[in-house]
């Protein structure tokens, strides 16, 4: 059990450690704090978005021990000690990930609200399966709703990234 601190009003807070994008953050959270909110409000990682907050849209997707989950359905206390990757942790040494480059090149971003979750779902897919088929890409992002693009450019962008082609095809 993590350390518990009770304030003068009797509110309990738990001392937890979240390993986010390689950095260990030891923070105090209430038991009912949702992981999305802790990432955004306490750690200032606002790339993780909030849409439905009920597990339907995927805009809050983060990788928990490498696997995509809807962070709106995870209590921060449940993630104590675990590895979390948010969209802020996908680029390395100032360079965008191939998936990100490819999404820009393919005009796979319109309003951009779904994009962080989309990139993380794609990242998890390509880590596990570097050369996916189109149906595998579609399946991997099935939990990420996009209301703008119609998905076609997103799927093409992920396939292109997996094939080392980060410039757009002729449509």
């Amino acid at each position: 059990m993590s350390q518990v601190l009770t304030d003068k009003d009797g509110v309990k807070r738990y001392l937890i450690t979240l390993n986010v994008n390689g950095d260990a953050h030891t923070i105090l959270v209430k038991g009912n704090a949702i992981l999305t909110n802790v990432l955004r409000d306490q750690l200032d990682l606002t790339g993780t978005k909030k849409g439905c907050e009920l597990g339907d849209c995927g805009s809050c997707t983060v990788l928990l021990d490498g696997k995509p989950v809807d962070s709106c359905l995870v209590l921060a206390v449940e993630a104590d000690g675990r590895e979390i990757t948010t969209i802020e942790g996908v680029s390395a040494n100032g360079a965008l990930d191939a998936i990100q480059e490819s999404m820009i090149n393919h005009a796979a971003v319109q309003c951009g609200y779904c994009t962080p979750g989309m990139v993380l779902s794609a990242k998890a897919l390509l880590t596990r399966n570097p050369h996916p088929t189109e149906p595998e890409v579609r399946e991997a992002i099935a939990g990420n709703l996009c209301r703008c693009t119609g998905y076609v450019h997103i799927v093409e962008a992920v396939l292109a990234a997996s094939q080392g082609r980060v410039t757009p095809d002729d449509h």
Binding site: Y14, K67, P68, V69, L75, S121
Partner: protein, 289 residues
């Protein structure tokens, strides 16, 4: 979104969890993957005083084969672990396939088989195929344990026989002679849609006859239900399209679906008939798929 307050507990072992649940009684709610509970808490349908997290109970998170018993699935196994399990894929592919029809990857990485069962809703996707595969479950509490057939666990709409203080620890698929099984789910979309109606079957084919069959319907009655009249009709019968069609008619006749946002009762009865016939044919011809 508003989240009610609660006391949070993280017992380190199964016995510690049982002791805690015995002490807290009705005030405690068990937290597994949280996909149902947190949803209910956010929409104001649930405000538990105590939330007892099972996250440390790795002892009930694995899938293994036990000689003489069958395949034992820990209640905390999530849907992704079920569909990625080589053991299940090899022996009863129908179960990984059923898990694969569920929600998005993000939900399948959180939601557990135990939560899917204890929730007790008739639209849950895993109980039908597990019942078709003759699964039994184990319930453990501070005062002892009991085992039962999974089908006996459900007793009404969102009602089960679990008592306060009890934990579902494992699901066992016994070694069996079935030659095929499958689950066909009809949802309004491929992704993230609950079953309008679903049918799971298992069959034991012997020559040109069906020695035995199990037919289990999802979202076709207040609880997951076995279509026993259809099963009785098929037992010992020569396999033919007519016989399978008759089984479909009998299964639909026994179903008691309701009108809901996902489909009318009439439509669901129709689905039960067609899906039963199709599922039987598939399991007979293709094995555990």
């Amino acid at each position: 979104m508003y989240m009610p307050d609660f006391e949070y507990h993280t017992p380190r072992t199964l016995s510690e969890a049982c002791a805690l649940l015995a002490e807290l009684g009705e005030k405690a709610t068990v937290l597994a993957g949280g996909t149902d509970i947190l949803h209910k808490m956010k929409v104001g349908k649930l405000a538990p005083e105590h939330l007892v997290s099972l996250k440390n109970l790795d002892e009930i998170r694995e899938i293994r084969h036990e000689a003489g018993r069958g395949i034992v699935i820990g209640a905390l196994t999530n849907h992704a672990a079920i569909y990625n399990s080589p053991l299940l894929q090899e022996r009863y592919l129908s179960l990984p396939m059923a898990a694969h029809t569920m929600a998005s990857t993000q939900i399948c990485n959180l939601g557990t088989v135990g939560g899917n069962i204890v929730n007790g809703v008739p639209s849950a996707d895993l109980p039908p195929i597990l019942i078709a595969l003759q699964a039994t479950i184990r319930l453990v509490s501070a005062s002892g344990e009991r085992s039962m057939a999974l089908e006996d666990f459900f007793c009404g709409a969102a009602e089960t026989v679990i008592a306060p203080g009890e934990l579902l620890t494992e699901i066992t698929i016994p070694d069996q002679e079935t030659t095929g099984s499958t689950y066909i789910k009809f949802g309004l979309r491929r992704s993230g849609a609950l079953a309008v109606t679903g049918v799971a079957v298992s069959v034991c084919v012997e020559g040109d006859k069906l020695r035995d069959a199990r037919i289990v319907l999802a979202s076709a009655a207040p609880t997951v239900m076995r279509a026993t009249a259809a099963e009785d009709f098929l037992r010992g019968r020569t396999i033919s399209d007519e016989a399978l069609a008759e089984a479909g008619t009998l299964a639909a006749a026994a179903s008691r679906p309701r009108d809901s946002i996902r489909g009318s009762a009439e439509y669901r009865k129709n689905l039960a008939e067609v899906l039963t016939k199709r599922a039987l044919r598939k399991a007979i011809d293709e094995g555990h798929v």
